[in-house]
């Protein structure tokens, strides 16, 4: 039982580490950037 739990925890940690690295370096979810100034887009900057 102990071995199974420990293995599950190891693979969970590995999964999290890989997920973190992939999201960090390979696929980063695009954040909606702050609205930029300019043009007639009604941003209210002029």
């Amino acid at each position: 039982m102990n071995t199974i739990i420990q293995n599950i925890l190891v693979f969970a940690a590995l999964g999290l580490a890989l997920l973190f690295l992939v999201r960090k370096f390979i696929w980063t979810p695009k954040k909606k950037s702050a609205k930029a100034c300019g043009g007639d887009d009604g941003c209210g900057c002029h």
Binding site: N2, T3, I5, Q6, N7, L9, V10, A13, L14, L16, A17, L18, F20, L21, K24, F25, K31, S33, A34, K35, A36, C37, G38, G39, D41, C43, G44, C45, H46
Partner: protein, 699 residues
Amino acid sequence: MSKQINVALIGNPNTGKTSVFNALTGLNQKVGNYPGITVEKKEGICKLPRGVKAHIIDLPGTYSLNASSLDENVVIELLLNKTDKDYPDVAVVVSDVENLKRNLLLFTQIKDLKIPTILVINMADRMEYKGISLNLDYLETQLKTKIALISTRKNKGIDKLKELIATHKELSIEPCLDASTIDKAYFDNLRKAFPNQLLYKLWLVITQDVNFGKTDRKTFEAVEDFKTKSKTDLKRLQQKETIKRYQFINETLKLGQTIDLKSAKDLRIKLDRILTHKVWGYLIFGIILLTIFQAIYDWSSIPMDFIDSSFASLSEWTKSTLPDGAFTNLLAEGIISGLGGIVIFIPQIAFLFLFISILEESGYMSRVVFLMDRIMRRFGLSGKSVVPLISGTACAIPAIMATRNIESWKERLITILVTPFTTCSARLPVYLIIIALVIPEGRILGLSYQALTLMLLYLIGFGAAVGSAWILNKILKIKSKSFFVVEMPNYKLPLFKNVALTVLEKTKAFVFGAGKIILAISIVLWFLASYGPGDDFNNAETIVTEQYASENLSEEELNQKIESHKLEHSFIGIAGHAIEPAIRPLGYDWKIGIAIVSSFAAREVFVGTLATIYSVGSDEEETIKNRMAGEINPILGGPLFNFASGISLLLFYAFAMQCMSTLAIVKKETNSWKWPMYQLVIMSGFAYIVALVAYQLLI
């Protein structure tokens, strides 16, 4: 519920803007980045009188609203975008009492944007020393603002500033002067074409060299009723605008400020004469550098040893306390060791930033930048490249981040690309153990061969950085404005609070930035070294027990053999064997191959990996050294770590791009994978060739 307002702290560099920010926010501050770019964003909360709460943003230092760098662009973008969540309810322009004339240029521009603006005149404690007196009532009337005369050093005037911020609604938003008179016809056309928009904002958008957001001059060219001018004409108008502003400022200061030169007691000129001298300047800088590095290594060793032994004890405690199993091993050998690998560098990073911060705060760093510009320019670098190259001796990551204040993109890119050549502290464990193995202990002129080799490796690193900068300068065809403006601030005693906060911030950025990556890689590496495919790995115990059945090994020795066998057939071991044909011509075996592969996460992992491979116990450094010394070259016979393979390894680590975190930060700073990939291929390719040639010549 208290009301929250946005306050933007704006000012020229070296006006003590950050000191004002620290005085207002104390420890209620955080550092981040502006979205999509890598310019640092400092913000904090300050409680004001009348139950008002202020969200304060310390904007990057800028000389005017005519942007020439990414940092300055951030200021303009915020001030022009009313829908930005950080758009200021009030702008606080921080100026320095000794440079009021130049500082007021930015102030008058911000006033033209019709933002309620407070003028802070900082460093009031130096007025008597410099023979300066101010007529504040007159200045307030002329500049149509409220003035806070403060001294962050003496903690004076901060309460008045808080009071002024709290009552910002009473501030006038009337501009100081009418800039449109520089070309009335043009500005009239502009007003007609865009009747609902603020004239000065339009003017700023049209004249920027740097595009921000979606705005560029083409937007204006598309409007039929309005014809914009050529770039040259616009530049000419900008110059006219600046002259007009200075005329206004000169008139204002004629009555608002008096400087009695007779009562000024100035050491600055005398100090500058020595510190920027073409001989003494370099000599003094050299001595200061030597002292700093000596201090970093001497002072860091005690806390580093303490951290090292604490993590070793924690790892041991975890193993002995938690139930046996894979996760316990991951915690003890992967996660705790990984965390230890990050935390152990805190003392060095903290001491380095302590010294850099003291040099910056005292005003000396600007003299160094001025001094080095003469040399660096010949190699396609800027005087400002000195700071990253020096910081690179601790860690390339903060060093690459320190390139942000280099205005020219070409110079900044070259500095980013060559900085990893400088010998970082992570190379040290590798250098020290190899030098101890292959360089004899004799002395020449009182200096040991080993110390000289170490110094030579540092020089090779700097030489490679400067040499490759020269080549990159020749081959990179990037059009970029190259100019060098550096302000020489007055010499002053560093403020403890500022130095302490800088050290705290930078150390935090290192631990939580690079730290997370190193930790994740440590987990992956541990997994690859602890698991493997096939029977050789899974039946390691049976295979080794049968193999050594006749040799009467103790239980400990047998366990070590089993661990070594498992490692050899683990995923990382298989990878080591796979690359062996490529590294054999350099004099390395598969075990060194594994250490090289795993040290791609961070160079210092090399020693740790070899420690595991050679199955050593707790007395790591001594034991691993003896073990390495006893390793036999399987093909040629004789010691594996001999003079030829040792020099080859030293040179490989001197030039190779063996740091994933550095690649990540280069990607972040250049916003492209192209440059880190070039770095990886060229640096590691060059390292391979140099190591190969060295081994083949020396063998």
